[in-house]
Symmetry: C2
Amino acid sequence: MRTSLCDRFGIELPIFGFTPSEHVAAAISRAGGMGVLGCVRFNDAAELDAVLDWMDEHTDGKPYGVDVVMPAKIPAEGNQADLGKLVPEGHRAFVERVLADLGVPPLDDGGAGRDGVLGWLHSVARSQVDVALKHPIKLIANALGSPPADVIAQAHAAGVPVAALAGKAEHAARHVDNGVDIVVAQGYEAGGHTGEIASMVLVPEIVDAVGERAPVLAAGGIGSGRQAAAALALGASGVWMGSFWLATEEYLQTMTGSGAIQRALVAASSSDTVRSRIYTGKPARLLRTRWTEAWAAPDAPEPLPMPLQNLLVSPAHNRMHAVHDPSLVSMPVGQIVGRMDRVRGVAEVIAELVGGYEEALSRLDKTR
Amino acid sequence: MRTSLCDRFGIELPIFGFTPSEHVAAAISRAGGMGVLGCVRFNDAAELDAVLDWMDEHTDGKPYGVDVVMPAKIPAEGNQADLGKLVPEGHRAFVERVLADLGVPPLDDGGAGRDGVLGWLHSVARSQVDVALKHPIKLIANALGSPPADVIAQAHAAGVPVAALAGKAEHAARHVDNGVDIVVAQGYEAGGHTGEIASMVLVPEIVDAVGERAPVLAAGGIGSGRQAAAALALGASGVWMGSFWLATEEYLQTMTGSGAIQRALVAASSSDTVRSRIYTGKPARLLRTRWTEAWAAPDAPEPLPMPLQNLLVSPAHNRMHAVHDPSLVSMPVGQIVGRMDRVRGVAEVIAELVGGYEEALSRLDKTR
């Protein structure tokens, strides 16, 4: 499973693994792929810096990248408290009522814990880019389209290529016009922020739109070698996987908790996701839970725009996290969740993928 | 592009082409695939019989099949007039107001023209099966799950295998338990009745669920050789294409009109579809038009259950058809519509598909 991206990035396999976990990202890189660490969880650039130090020590000199979230349309700026004032009281009351209905108590410390995510503010994302470029990163990806021109220029000046996610061919073309080097074609079935066009249609459309100018990674629905073979048959030069790492042993090393998330993911079928604005304010695919169902009820308010919606729901996520109930986790995940049938090691995931890829090609050989 | 289905059906290519047009179906079979004629448009079995006589004369002895629509949950039975009484006045008034807003006049003959579709009534579909089995058909497909057990037995007694569409792995397993011989895995991106799981995830799930007992055809998003290669990489034994034939020369021979539909399809991008209940009462993917937008407005009523919704909207479809306006056609179509960039002959579609398939396999060879 070798493509032009292997030589370009000095990787053995064109498998790009997006993950918020440094343990997963490092393991992907060590296994021959390209681990891409999601930065959006780091509101504090110093915290990111320390984690990237850890990455530098645990990747055996193999390439890795980072992923920031810079929306093309700049969201409201401000600190946690100022932005919090923009959240309507009715929304807060709805959240409180739902949590009460679901039997989720307040936290012992009165509601502290992890803050809402501010990583999609340009100010925060820029500080992440500044910090990341002090490390030997080999890729900066933006999970929401083209980064601003000066950020692309900053990366290029440091010799770091830029990738951007696209859910439509016209967006992909715009990204490349803006200087983006690699396009991640993110299909409908993907976890997190996603559009409406499914990978089978989207990947060749984006390859045709930009393929001569930029390699395309296929994202959405990929968790096996058969799917990687399908992605490359569609014209992609590699795959971008995110959801599948959530059910790995390495992910559990980063994210403290009872494993309720993994129990929920392993139990879920491909039908158990919803595409909804309730996590960030933009459409994102999430695991279907009693929490997402409450937001789908007729009495639920419209989700707020980014970044307010996540500020609203983050304390609720913390409270649900504390009850260790698989039916109440809050987790972006793609339809591939149906294939996540147990917790594996990252190296095992990649070995299975490579083996399945070879089998798929052998099957195709027999059709000639 | 040969699989076990080629020997089993005596076809050169594992390309199954579903179409309401006998001209398209015959051309697919003549070109080496399996033309599958959709019967739902024939309210009168005698009309179907005559068309199958035509098929017998124009397929050069090559295999062809038919497709009926028998919902697993039997819809209300009755004739056009009796069922019409079940349509609420408020729904009729909404349709009249929308057509007036869209500038669509009544028909000169006062509203006659094609009746609403009754082919999804079991009584009508059974009469279609009876007629079809008098012809040398090689496949009966059901577009909505397993046909009733006695219909499967009737087909098997005549030596005709039965195919059924499935949008979930559990449905596919149930179909095979019921005696279905071939499963069509219909992904979210497909036109017409479709579920929520995209092909990239659905096809391998269904192959894993039933592949040892029944071959699987991939449906949804397929219009090129790259996509056919992806489908076979995912484990499918062939492809099932429907939408792509709508923009063929042969389709225009069956469906009289000004070509407004083809102009609309050729102009549409992959973003220009909606999944809605407004065509049949069950979720189906349609071309997005001013008509579908009117039904998506906040003041639109909930669509009626099958078969009432199509009885309600069929006269409106006739009226829109008469104005020859590409922005007002009513047409089920999949996301692959974005690739339908001109009207082609059926043989050209198939030749391009085979060529693209070989190219995709050659590209994959280079990844070893």
